[in-house]
């Protein structure tokens, strides 16, 4: 529960949601080493440089990198700050890359401050101002706990808790009461209990990706050949002149995003480069990028130039196909025109319907932190299970993994400490010779 000193932690340091610039802070002993894997030549300590953040051979963003060497940083540790484009998608992608490192983890609320305090980096005035902040944080955590423990999910979480408590009790009873009249091999039951929790966790983890969308916005990509009317449509929907629209094919080279509210759901509309074969090198790159972004989006709207045009890649089930520039055709259900506005409401209603259905599957774990915890717990439970399967005598090692999993889930299932495990043991088994 306390700040693990050796951990490197990271989080978006600016508020979530769309902003001009988002700041991701990475703090801890491995901050430099981790970032150096994704940024070609880190700037010297105390300096900043424009750099690409890369992963898996791709540029994720062109961003401003600042480095600070311990103790000259906000937290007093080695710190790298990434000032990236404010798009939730970019932030998410970078955080996802950082999550891959076992020596790093998402920061707990207030953890940067906690470290700054530990390392004596705040002045008295700052320290005094902190109480309010912490109170607010406590309140937020309390609200979240209330949310987790009420309703359907409350029942589910409670069952995880019971199952893990029982599993821990079963393992510990064979260890601490080996000289008593207790079952010798509890592995099958323990494995079954853990499997149940893992199943629940996996569902919740999947749901959490949806939850994140609800918080950070769904992405809807508009695709189609150059000049299919994508940009005009976007402008009409957004009511703003954001995408560069012109009659010359291929003007929208980069991906343009517009964040908006569709029936209460945050949605980011992506206007992609017109998709076509091109000899122009720069345009080719733009097209490739457009395709990738569109494929990663939650939903695609394919604007056809002709009725029988095939999409540039296979569409998913929910994706929408419409005949663009509807003003040039006879208006009908499958046509739309950004210019006249015909069909726009219908399209928005359709998008809202599809995304609302998905949002209904939302998990409670809305934070990267929760998902990270659940994933770590799931993995540890899996390890515990395989230890038990392969070598039931190594109960103490299985117990170690189980304990780790339970600790990871602290924020979800509440603290399970040894007194509770002992309580479970004494209520289940007649001990004491």
């Amino acid at each position: 529960m306390s700040a693990a000193a050796g951990d490197t932690i990271f989080a978006q340091a600016s508020g979530t949601g769309r902003a001009g610039v988002s700041v991701i802070r990475v703090s801890g002993p491995d901050a430099f080493a981790i970032c150096a894997n994704h940024i070609d030549v880190l700037p010297k300590a105390g300096q900043f440089k424009l750099r690409y953040f890369q992963a898996d051979g791709q540029n994720i963003d062109h961003l401003l990198v600042l480095t600070f060497r311990s103790p000259n940083s906000f937290t007093g540790e080695d710190v790298v700050e990434l000032h990236c484009h404010g798009s939730p998608a970019v932030v998410k992608a970078i955080l996802a890359v950082l999550t891959r490192y076992p020596q790093a983890r998402p920061a707990e609320p207030g953890e940067f401050t906690r470290r700054a305090l530990e390392n004596n980096k705040l002045d008295l005035a700052q320290v005094e101002g902190l109480s309010d902040l912490i109170n607010a944080e406590t309140e937020a955590q309390r609200m979240q706990a209330v949310r987790i423990f009420s309703g359907q999910l409350g029942i589910l979480v409670e069952s995880w808790r019971q199952n893990l408590l029982r599993a821990a009790a079963l393992i510990e009873v064979t260890i601490d009461f080996a000289d008593e009249d207790v079952p010798v091999d509890v592995s099958p039951e323990v494995s079954a209990l853990m499997a149940q929790v893992m199943k629940g966790l996996s569902t919740e983890i999947a749901g959490s990706y949806v939850a994140e969308r609800v918080r950070n916005g769904f992405e809807v990509a508009i695709i189609g050949a150059p000049n299919a009317g994508k940009s005009t449509l976007l402008n009409t929907i957004s009511g703003r002149d954001v995408a560069i629209t012109s009659e010359v094919a291929g003007t929208t080279r980069d991906v343009i995003e517009v964040r908006m509210d569709v029936n209460g759901l945050p949605v980011t509309l992506l206007d992609t480069a017109g998709i076509r074969d091109s000899a122009d090198e720069i345009e080719k790159v733009g097209v490739q990028r457009a395709i990738e972004r569109a494929q990663q989006a939650d939903l695609r709207v394919f604007l056809k130039s002709t009725l029988d045009e095939e999409p540039p890649f296979a569409l998913s089930q929910d994706d929408i196909s419409l005949l663009g520039k509807g003003d040039l055709h006879v208006a009908q259900d499958s046509t739309i025109s950004g210019k006249s506005g015909d069909g726009v409401d219908r399209l928005l209603a359709q998008i809202a319907e599809i995304l609302s259905a998905r949002a209904a599957n939302v998990g409670t774990a809305t934070h990267l932190r929760h998902r990270h915890a659940m994933e770590a717990a799931c993995e540890a439970l899996d390890q515990a299970r395989s230890v038990l399967d392969q070598n039931p005598a190594s109960a103490e090692i299985a117990a170690e993994y189980l304990r780790y999993a339970i600790r990871k889930l602290d924020s979800l299932i509440g603290r399970v400490d040894v007194e509770m495990v002992l309580g479970e043991i004494f209520s289940q088994f007649c001990l004491g010779k």
């Binding site: 693990a4 707990e108 207030g110 601490d176």
Partner: protein, 621 residues
């Protein structure tokens, strides 16, 4: 200049007191042990056995620090068994049954030989104290003994009440008077007191047991000792008998429940859940039709048998009936009936981690009086109180044991941070760093500390240094032995074909590679001492897990370094819930780590405390 007769006085010669007195004297303090009678030094009030899971770990730690319990247990051990022998080394616990007389004799001998230690028979009736500052004791005969620090270890003697059925009598344990005057004196300190209870079974006459009809449990073939200085048992090993309760036994108990002190409503103290009376077992686990009962001889030439598993507070005639309903015990005679005892304990949150009473200077508490149960728990606290009383008397800093380094640290921290709701007993599951706090490496963890504190003698120091040299040499050689996976495969080792060259130490980490396998490949390794090889094998087994815990260890270390001033006022911290403020005030944690373990603590609350800590430091700087 005040005159002191002694540096340290220890009150009570039970397990806590014996260890405290020995430790203080060894550490260089002029020490007096005052106990009711010289015969009761090292008396086992209950079960004649030492060790077990968690408890065995404690004994090893006491031994590693130079204490006496392990040696006395080895000298008197008549049935050594290593519990969890087939599980991993981290959860193996040495245990033995002890010959009561031999244990007492060993303890008397060890204490008698301790330099700086005077043993005085007498009842302590009062403290010499002024302004919450203790400076000695007054005996029942009115004589005074002065000392710079006093350790109180009176076990179950404070307002002890013994129950057999509806009969009740005042007593510290069967045959001993309670300490009434002292209890009244302690009341004047206004410490938070509570009531606990425990019980013991009837003692049987072994000559009236039909042993032929019973199964037996033998001692281990290769006995494992407690002390790092012992190599084999000192006396003959014996077996225990095993019998069972049956439907008839249960019926007798059920029919007479209302006559049990416990169920008749005579007892208010809370008993341990892991050591229930036979009445409890039958009520709470009504569907179990039989319970195991171990028949343990109390000594080699003693016909007293301790029937483990049937402690009771039923009237003596009912005890006889139900005991005789069991196989082999049809004609048994009872030498002493079982009984329950209720006694006062002090809420250990009134103590600091050095076991000094926070509100009274120079006064230390150890043992059952702090809400624990068991000889090992008592002795371990005895060491801590003894060393700290000695250091206090000699003007040195307190020694604090951490959860990182020992079960002793786990126990003390649990007691002074969380308090107790039932008699506290050690379990391995209480230690979050269980894989590194093993019985086998207690010396590696603690003997250097014992050397620094002066409680480890020359012989032990020498043995330890030799062992460490051998281990270092063996590691050095193992690190020069390396092979690739394909070479390993040729030697029949089951390993990942990942092309990575590994040292012999790394190879040992694989679950199915043993030291003997390595000797096949590198014959020169065979020359090392068997103990050394086994130890390295054990360490390798857990190396990866322990490395993973390193971060948690560091985090704890860091939190422990954030010490909280003794006079920090938690009631003033805005933003903390009233409940937390009260708990913090009660515990008055010594550092942030301890604060974090208080029940109900949240990360935000901890940050808040850290904030206050900073303000406090800035303002007082």
């Amino acid at each position: 200049m005040k005159h002191h007769d002694f540096d340290v006085i220890v009150i009570g010669g039970g397990h806590a007191g014996a260890e405290a007195a020995h430790t203080a004297a060894r550490a260089g303090a002029k020490t007096a042990l005052v106990t009711l009678s010289l015969d009761n030094i090292g008396v086992m009030s209950c079960n004649p056995a030492i060790g077990g899971l968690g408890k065995g770990h404690l004994v090893r730690e006491i031994d590693a620090l130079g204490g006496v319990m392990g040696i006395a247990a080895d000298r008197s051990g008549i049935q050594f068994r290593l519990l969890n022998r087939r599980k991993g080394p981290a959860v193996q616990g040495p245990r033995t049954q002890s010959d009561r007389k031999l244990y007492r004799a060993a303890m008397a001998d060890l204490l008698g030989k301790t330099p700086n230690l005077a043993i005085i028979a007498g009842e302590v009736a009062d403290f010499i104290a002024k302004d919450d500052n203790v400076s000695g004791v007054v005996l029942a005969d009115g004589s005074e003994i002065r000392a710079k620090a006093v350790v109180l270890t009176t076990g179950t003697f404070l307002r002890g009440v013994i129950h057999i059925g509806d009969t009740r009598m005042a007593g510290g344990r069967m045959g001993d008077k309670p300490s009434v005057k002292l209890a009244e004196r302690i009341d004047t300190f206004n410490l938070p007191l509570g009531r606990l209870k425990t019980g013991t079974p009837p003692r049987l006459d072994g000559r009236t047991i039909n042993w032929e009809s019973l199964e037996t449990q033998p001692a281990d073939d290769d006995p494992v000792m407690f002390s790092f200085l012992s190599h084999k048992p000192f006396v003959r090993q014996i077996a225990c008998g095993i019998t069972h309760t049956n439907e008839k036994t249960h019926a007798i108990i059920r029919d007479n429940l209302s006559r049990s002190a416990m169920y008749g409503g005579h007892i208010e103290g809370i008993g341990p859940r892991y050591c229930p009376s036979i009445e409890d077992k039958i009520v709470r686990f009504a569907d179990k039709s039989s319970h195991q009962v171990f028949l343990e001889p109390e000594g080699l030439d003693d016909h007293t048998i301790y029937p483990n598993g049937i402690s009771t507070s039923l009237p003596a005639d009912v005890q006889q009936d139900y005991v005789r309903s069991m196989d082999g015990l049809e004609n048994v005679s009872i030498l002493q009936p079982g009984y329950a005892i209720e006694y006062d304990f002090v809420d250990p949150r009134a103590l600091g981690p050095d076991l000094q009473v926070k509100a009274v200077k120079n006064l230390y508490f150890a043992g059952q009086i702090n809400g624990t149960t068991g000889y090992e728990e008592a002795a371990a606290q005895g060491y801590v109180a003894g060393i700290n009383a000695a250091r206090c008397a000699m003007g040195q800093d307190a020694v604090i044991f951490s959860r990182r380094d020992s079960y002793i640290g786990v126990m003390i921290d649990d007691l002074v941070t969380r308090g107790v709701s039932e008699p506290y007993r050690m379990f391995t599951s209480r230690a979050e760093f269980r894989l590194s706090l093993r019985a086998d490496n207690a010396d590696q963890r603690l003997t250097p500390l014992g050397i620094a504190l002066g409680t480890v003698g020359e012989a032990r120091k020498h043995a330890f240094d030799t062992k460490m040299d051998q281990i270092t040499a063996c590691y050095a050689q193992l690190n020069t032995c390396q092979l690739t996976p394909s070479e390993g495969k040729k030697h029949g080792l089951n390993m990942n074909q990942d092309g990575q060259r590994r040292t012999a130490v790394e190879l040992l980490a694989f679950p199915d590679i043993e030291f003997t396998d390595l000797e096949q490949i590198w014959p020169q390794l065979a020359d090392h001492d068997l103990q050394v090889k086994q130890q390295i094998n054990r360490e390798a087994q857990y190396a990866a897990y322990i490395a993973r815990q390193e971060r948690d260890v560091l985090a704890l270390k860091r939190d422990e370094a954030q010490t909280i001033p003794k006079d920090m006022n938690f009631m003033e911290i805005e933003g903390l819930s009233t409940e937390l403020r009260q708990k913090l005030t009660k515990v008055q944690p010594r550092d942030l780590g301890q604060a974090g373990r208080i029940d109900g603590m949240t990360p935000a609350a901890l940050t808040l405390i850290l904030t206050k800590l900073r303000q406090y430091q800035r303002k007082s700087a």
